[in-house]
Symmetry: C2
Subunit: 712 residues, 2 copies
């Protein structure tokens, strides 16, 4: 009988035992139900109230942080270009908020104006100098903060969160310090203009918040299972804020459902957390727009023509290929960073990359602005009444625009591959869709100019004959390209079979392109197909494998005829407890000599059960020294119980799964994936023949990847 | 080693053995891979090509059927009100297609005009008589078709499809006859004006189509597993067409994923099937609108105010309560129908209900039109430039409208409760959202009139001060009501934990109300909460329980401290094969005496393995008569193999899961749910102590429902 008296404190780096965790939670529920009085009811309510408190506070917190992060980033970003004469703490929008439309805002001054420099050349030199310098300072401060105070605040955080939700213990990853540094560092990193996004890190921040809040209550201290359910809900809240999509948060919870025993409960909490976070974000409403979604395309045409499938399939192929290339480059960059001298100078590396980024970005018009602004503009259709964004709509500059867009995409691929993994908070979502949107827009502009040049061609006969009516919508091509690139980088099958839907859904909600879901689906499908042909793993899987977290990817595994017997550690090589043979002090020695999580118990090679190290430790310690010579019995099989034996049958685990050794390997993997086990014992006609652990299965699943454990 | 030589033909009413089916498919893959020559490659391609052929043909087929069904229903529906002077086979739209906007269409004549009746009274009598008569004829013909040719074509079909996807065998449900009758009967039933929808039955039609196509290929004849994967994909295509939402189809596949071994494969096929079906529907494009979605609200305002949460929460509560009432009424109706004289007169029943429906419907303006038209109009905001739908926007008729809308909802609840279960094809989706939309609109009109009457009240201060600007959008309240009602009737947790998301998603895509996802989520959550408090099961679960299909609802089960030992059939009550004791002719007798699916094999009470009836049958039959006295051995445990024994060890199942009898019941249920097993064996230190089968678990899960097996 598992009970709280068994010490279940885990160390960082261990994996929790889900079956035990579930059992503890069940015990707790039984205990509550057994108390028939008001007190039992109250303690159940209190349990539930604490959970909801953490969830709602996390939702409100991450909504607020998300909102203020936007404000901070906007201000820091604007500061790189100029300053408000009313006070340096105003951003450009608030600085000019009192000005009538049409009037020139004189309060906002570029740095050149501010220092009253008259010479154009000096002014532009000054301008670019401050632009680059501030970028360096922001990026450098972020790197200093991360390396000094919270090394776990680097990177996106998603791989770790996946591993933690799966049962990995990494408390250092979720401290309040990490929360603070990640949020602050994220604002600095984004404002520095490096090629990174805020989406993944925001999810990490939400998880830190839930974890820190959960430490206030004793209830969660002894239940890693309950804690993980809280983390799942708060990750949903993070996604809800990062993408402005409460539905996206819920779907993320669905992805993680296999891990948890109580599906509906987790989903329901994720639902509430996402909703609360979205409402908080909307309530704080930093830009006064009261719109949740990040990018919105509303003026695209409602219909699409069959010939457009050709460029869209092309975008799918490009997304798949470039996604694979980006993943490969990123892995190479991570390995070079780890094995070279750069490993010792993380801050200098960040400053170096940031100066290169800033210098290049300042030269090209599309890279100078913040990525989110660029994407929003690329998603917009040309509308003469709204003005032309950097000449994108100029029909005379087709080739120039296409060249610039492709150049931007190539530069971004290189920069992103290096940036994603440096010692700063950095998400990969925004850079990915920026690359995709550039390529998509380029494709759209090309298709449009082809159509307007040859309106009578057979292909374009389905277009309206009136040349003033737009037939091809390049803005939508940008959406398409972004979706395809995202599919190529995060890859549906590798992450989870229905990351794909999340992807389509998020893209869809990001853009509001309701009538165009179908083409997006087709393009995403193509990208996935092409990408899978070039390598099965998405970017997060690759990072999990490189850091060797014990995480089972929920992908299909197909054996080639192997059975469990081919991978299991056979009984001869297992450390087992032989019932009736070992005395208590032998057990004590066993526990000292071996660090295993548990031991199978056998009697004359026949399997009796499985006992965990933790329970054994407690039981052995509970006996007096003069009893230590007594033999241990776990079952009363041959009626051998007598005064020379101690009965340890209560320590046996109830929930041990046994299979035959001839079972196909495929099925073994599936049992591990679906039931979230730590080990399976294999028997043949009652005799123990072997054991397979989660670690064995993880090794099996990552065997094809050459850089496994490269960043361990 | 399972191989195709074992007869795995299932009879209707049996459940398939997933583990065996998976094993067969694995064998097939091994065999293909083993053939290294071109031939092996070709046969793999051919396998895959056959699957894709069925999927793509099904997608195209269901898209086309869906499109033509709309045309047929429109024509039959119009025929009840009038006729085209050019020919009776035109519907109103095509009849008047040549007429300029503004001009009166004289080609389309009401029946009164057609027969040239001058007296208003006679004309309106004539009009209503034909309206009711044609309704009777349509409904009656549908009932005659169903009862005579394909009894399985009645009802929605969703409960059966869920059971079949879970492993139930019901080939009669998927014949080409059923396909034809269901499609034809559906058109007649919808046109008859009965309170039913076409969504569920369309999914059934799609499954019939895939099943019929699969029978053309030998590949699927021996693999019920492969067949079910095809059915899952085609069900997705059906949903894609029924709701105009390819994404909805994919999410349906996700719901069913737990059933299948190869998640990504099934999802991918569902993806393609949904996309092909949607493209086909759009290509055929019956109404020339080239829009996929059924209902679209685009002119609602972008923002909402906090005070609106009060009526919306109210709608959630109403949806939960009325949803529960509708389910209870429907169950009562089904039981009365089965136990009373009505059981013998199904056609008369349909005609009777249809005449009552037609008579009532003709009297009330909102019930006379087709439900889909009513819903589309209820979802529309009032717009002076677009005309007023039946006075809904008249501010002077608030109370009249509210009364009429509530009356309509009440009538629809009664009619739907009775109609859903009669011998005609009938879905429950459309009636449910109609009821919800009526109530929602009523709530919206009330809130709006309250706000316009007291614009200065504290609650309404967040509204714009200008009275000409609309603050409350009653059309969106209708969407909200529909979503809440749907949640109350189908209930998220009962169907599947994330039916909820499907629901929000479909509602969301149906209406395009992008900025309002959050309030819809809140309202759906409330409806689920309230509904669950009044009864845990959704409408489909209830029907599955009443017809006692062996289907495991994927809901959380919480035991009260019971273990497997409390529900298992103990070893003393099991029919087991005692190794070394039984001769071959004893086995023969065993197979004759018992109809069990398989038998555990023991030796001196110790578990040796599990053997299925089918394999045993084949093995026993393969021996000559003079060998029948030989003893059977399944293991060579004590080295007892000799000439007096036959070695049957190859018949043992490889994939048998063993657990300890002390395992909590909760975990047993979870293993069944996640691994889709037929049985689990329980052992204690190697000895067989009991067995639990899927049937036991289903009985456990439906124990709380009083009408289990009422319609068996």
């Amino acid at each position: 009988m598992p009970s709280p008296r068994f010490n279940r404190k885990y160390q960082d780096g261990q994996s929790i035992d889900w079956i035990t965790e579930d059992a503890v939670e069940r015990e707790r529920n039984y205990a509550h139900r057994a108390q028939k009085s008001i007190r039992g009811l109250l303690s159940r309510w209190a349990d539930s109230a604490r959970i909801w408190t953490v969830i709602i506070l996390t939702g409100m917190g991450i909504g607020t942080i998300g909102a203020w992060l936007d404000v901070l980033v906007k201000w820091l970003g604007d500061l790189r270009e100029g300053v408000c004469s009313h006070g340096f703490f105003y951003n450009q929008v608030t600085c000019c908020s009192g000005v009538d439309p049409g009037e020139v805002c004189t309060n906002w001054q570029t740095w050149g104006e501010h220092f009253d420099i008259r010479f154009i050349f000096v002014e532009s030199l000054m301008q670019s100098f401050i632009y680059i310098l501030l970028g360096l300072i922001f990026a450098g401060s972020a790197a200093v903060l991360v390396t000094t105070y919270a090394p776990y605040a680097f990177h996106t955080g998603i791989p770790e969160i996946k591993a933690i939700l799966g049962g990995y213990v990494l408390d250092a990853f979720l401290t309040p310090w990490t929360l603070l540094i990640k949020a602050l560092g994220l604002a600095l990193a984004v404002a520095s203009g490096l090629s990174l996004g805020k989406e993944g890190p925001l999810v990490h921040v939400a998880c830190c918040m839930a974890f820190s809040l959960s430490r206030l209550f004793k209830q969660f201290q002894h239940s890693e299972g309950q804690r993980r359910k809280l983390l799942a809900a708060s990750a949903a809240a993070g996604i809800s804020v990062a993408f402005g999509s409460p539905l996206g948060g819920v779907i993320f919870c669905l992805e993680e459902l296999d891990t948890f025993a109580s599906d509906a409960e987790v989903l329901w909490r994720g639902f509430v957390a996402s909703a609360v976070a979205a409402v908080s974000l909307q309530y704080v409403d930093p830009f006064g727009t009261s719109k949740l979604v990040l990018f919105q395309v509303t003026n695209g045409s409602d219909t699409w023509r069959a010939f457009e499938l050709i460029p869209w399939l092309g975008l799918g192929v490009i997304g798949g290929v470039l996604g694979s290339i980006l993943i490969k480059l990123n892995v190479e960059a991570a390995i070079v960073r780890r094995t070279s001298v750069l490993n010792d100078w993380p801050i200098l590396e960040v400053i170096g990359v940031s100066s290169i980024t800033a210098a290049i970005s300042y030269l090209i018009v599309f890279t100078r602005v913040q990525s989110s602004e660029l994407v929003a503009n690329l998603f917009q259709e040309c509308d003469p009444s709204k003005g032309d964004y950097h000449g994108l709509c100029n029909p005379a500059a087709v080739w120039g625009n296409v060249f610039l867009l492709i150049l931007t995409a190539i530069i971004k691929i290189g920069l992103t591959a290096w940036t994603f993994g440096m010692m700063i908070p950095a998400g990969i979502f925004l850079p990915t869709i920026t690359i995709g949107a550039c390529l998509g827009r380029a494709m759209g502009i090309l298709t449009q100019s082809l159509q307007t040049s040859y309106p009578g061609a057979w292909l374009f006969l389905s277009c309206p004959p009136d040349p003033s009516v737009r037939c091809v919508s390049p803005g939508f091509y940008a959406v398409m390209g972004a979706a395809a690139m995202l599919a190529g980088v995060t890859r549906m099958t590798s992450e989870y079979s229905f990351n794909g839907s999340t992807l389509v859904l998020i893209t869809f909600q990001l853009t509001g392109a309701l009538s165009h879901v179908l083409p997006i689906m087709i393009s995403v499908m193509t990208a996935k197909w092409v990408g899978d042909a070039l390598g099965k793993d998405g970017i997060y899987s690759v990072w999990i494998a490189m850091r060797q977290y014990p995480w089972l990817p929920p992908v299909d595994y197909h054996d080639k005829g192997e059975t469990a017997a081919d991978v299991m550690r056979t009984a001869q090589h297992l450390t087992v407890i032989d019932e009736g043979e070992l005395a208590l002090n032998d057990l004590d020695g066993l526990l000292r000599d071996h660090a295993f999580h548990g031991f199978p118990v056998v009697k004359e090679r026949e399997l009796v059960g499985y006992v965990t190290r933790a329970k054994l430790r407690v039981i052995v310690d509970s006996f007096a020294a003069d009893e230590m010579h007594k033999k241990c019995c776990f079952s009363n099989k041959n009626g051998t119980f007598n005064d020379d034996h101690v009965n340890l049958s209560s320590t046996l685990e109830n929930s041990v799964i046994q299979l035959r050794k001839d079972v196909p390997l495929e099925l073994v993997v599936r049992v591990f994936q679906k039931m979230n086990l730590r080990q399976i014992l294999f028997t043949d006609a009652g005799k123990l023949v072997g054991m397979v652990t989660k670690t064995d299965v993880v090794a099996l699943m990552t065997a094809h990847f050459t850089h496994t454990a490269a960043l361990r």
